[in-house]
Assembly symmetry: C2
Homo-oligomer: 208 residues x 2
């Protein structure tokens, strides 16, 4: 796929995907850029520009074919096929991620959970048993994992991520409050929940 | 404060705040826009533009005074004073949020937790007891809550948010996979964890 999509436009992809699924569920066949703009809070011109960049096609006087565009974006996002995940750091957040039903429903299958805390190792969680993080490299020799979910303290996460990278994993969903530095052939999303809360307090403290 | 800061620039504020705290911890007094750019992954010119918009001041040949700028951004973000939160929807994610130590450390104090499930109501979690969501309005008559954290299923969250808004709460940190629609005098951040995972699969599936 030779598309070059800017980072802000990539970040809007999942939103289009979500709204298109909703519209499809309502049995609507086609939607105009104006109506899609109203739903997403964007201008019609921004919607047309985005979908053009995504390589989606509309028809004059008809709009965008909903199912076709949804499938196109699904394929772009790579969520038309399942992904395997492993979670490292089984505190409350790590456990919540393993238990999250909506990830499973979307094809994200957690195949392993790791921790370094003796009190957690061996505990069963859904169909998984928490393993010792020292077993990680051995596990990755025999199992293919697409995404490492990192919910460890900040001071260990960079070294851990590098270790996992060397075992061949290329997707990193990082919840520790630092920006991971990995080679260019790794895909990283740093979630930074604290910072999303700070954006909220900014807005809250600047309400008119 | 009469500053008008665009949404993308607001979203970068917490990142500057995080790096400035790190630099301060290392005992560094001042930092140039070029060095701050290297840390944050932005160009020096973008850094200068952002900090100018934020109303921060640097000095020619000296750079930005680290402590002063950190305090300035802290004040802008509104995190120089504590905020109270309540969590509604006490599944795994709601529990993880209540237990998250880093929120507490940053002055986000969870004062109540609610659910509608009989099996969860009455359970103790840290120093809180999960209350019946029907008690919400009564609770908010006597307690001031800055931020409602919503970790409920998508189909109930909009009605619930409106109910909480009518009780006077103005900050909404929404984890349900819809975009909340609230009056303009409410501050909303929709977290969309699923979508952050989809951005990751996009990047993973488009690695060179």
């Amino acid at each position: 796929m030779a598309l070059c999509i800017s980072d802000p436009a990539v970040k809007r992809l999942p939103m289009y995907y979500r709204y298109l699924k909703e519209i499809e569920k309502k049995g609507i066949d086609s939607i105009s850029s104006a109506d899609l703009g109203k739903l997403t809070g964007l201008t019609a011109s921004q919607v047309r520009q985005d979908i053009n960049i995504y390589g989606g096609k509309g028809r004059q006087g008809y709009g965008y074919p909903v199912i076709e565009l949804r499938k196109h974006i699904e394929h772009l996002l790579g969520v038309d096929h399942p992904h395997t995940m492993m979670v490292v750091g089984m505190g409350s957040l790590g456990c919540a991620i393993v238990r999250c039903a909506s990830f499973k429903k979307k094809g994200f299958v957690t195949v392993a959970a790791f921790d370094n805390d003796e009190k957690r190792i061996g505990i069963s969680l859904d169909e998984l048993t928490i393993q010792n993080v020292d077993e990680l490299a051995r596990f990755l020799k025999s199992e293919r994992v697409d995404i490492a979910v990192l919910s460890t303290p900040a001071d260990v996460v960079q070294e851990l991520a590098e270790r996992i990278y060397r075992c061949g994993v290329r997707g990193f969903w990082n919840y520790a409050p630092i920006d991971l530095q990995l080679p260019e052939d790794a895909a990283v999303v740093n979630v930074h929940l604290d910072e999303s809360l700070e954006v909220l307090t900014y807005r809250l403290n600047h309400l008119d």
